[in-house]
Symmetry: C2
Subunit: 196 residues, 2 copies
Amino acid sequence: MPVPKGSTIDPARTRAAILEAATPVLYERGLDGIGVAELCERVGVSKETLYRHFGTKNGLVEAMLEARSRQRNAWLREAARAAGDSPAARLSAVFDALQDWYTEPEFRGCSMVNAATQHHEPAVRSITARHLDGYLALLKEIALDAGAEDPDLLAEQLLILLEGATVVAAHHDPRRAGRHARAAALTLLEASNRGS
Amino acid sequence: MPVPKGSTIDPARTRAAILEAATPVLYERGLDGIGVAELCERVGVSKETLYRHFGTKNGLVEAMLEARSRQRNAWLREAARAAGDSPAARLSAVFDALQDWYTEPEFRGCSMVNAATQHHEPAVRSITARHLDGYLALLKEIALDAGAEDPDLLAEQLLILLEGATVVAAHHDPRRAGRHARAAALTLLEASNRGS
DNA sequence: CTCAGATCGAACCGATCGGTACGACCGAGA
DNA sequence: TCTCGGTCGTACCGATCGGTTCGATCTGAG
């Protein structure tokens, strides 16, 4: 039961429950692919409650994207951290985690990129840009630890591979994109400090 | 004057004019970001005419995507062809052309990928998949001419770079994505036949 | 000149959209 | 026990959606 019936019990709990329940629905159907009425039905909450917590549908969307961005960044960071100290192993772990994600049946690409593709509003675009900043920071740490000659360049190239693999997996080949991107990433990593 | 007033003059001309005028509007606003009424206004045609030529809004969208896909594939192919025989030069030309595109003010990512992100219908998804097939074929030709050990692998890695650069350009950094992807592509190309 | 067909513009359709209002209910704190 | 605030369910709002219809107008073919 996501939302307990009547309650002063816990104002913030309701908000969190709505957010959690709405996330997969909005991801599956697309931000404009479902109306507020049906969304409330699927989430198990009344329109009044949803609107008191988030003001507008867009308010819910933005809150959902912020949370989702944090989750995905933490998830990828954890995958890298668990792989140990070696930059190559951490980079491999990142793309292995992505490959696992691509083959999940609900996979539909990156929520933030999808959102920014559909909505041109600055708020959504800014969330997406910051989301990519987060990925870029992780990749740059790996590039630095690997002793890359130009860590910023390598990090952005790895980001291009990451997002490219996600797009290709969503629209062309979900079974190989992650593996192929991993191999490419390792090649770039190796080539990046050939002179050292 | 895109569409001459009354006319048996040329039924197919009208269709082509609608397609051509609708393409940039749908690209700028998004497929669901504009209604049929406003779309007709911008195109300069009545609803009846549009519906007679395309049946439904989705019919127009699909026809537009088919045409756009052919155009983009031809455009990229021509950029490669004009660069001469060297695989590296052709590959560079591809990413240089993309970089030019990214910095156009109207740039909003790949129409086909954007469309498939918004509409889950099989027809649209299939157009997008075939669009990526076209890119993949071009990249594989280059990989083959370069004597790559595994041309299929290299081609898909290059496709990942191509689409990744497009996504990163659209949502993060339109000024550098193409250049960085080109450098990465050349590195992969060089590494692909290191044993030969 | 007449006819057929392509087009326009506007009215119209039912459905759905995001968002609001209201009466009833419930549960915790005083 | 009473109050207060979060919640539900439903009805409702105006706007817009995709799509249809119709009479008027224009043009090229016969």
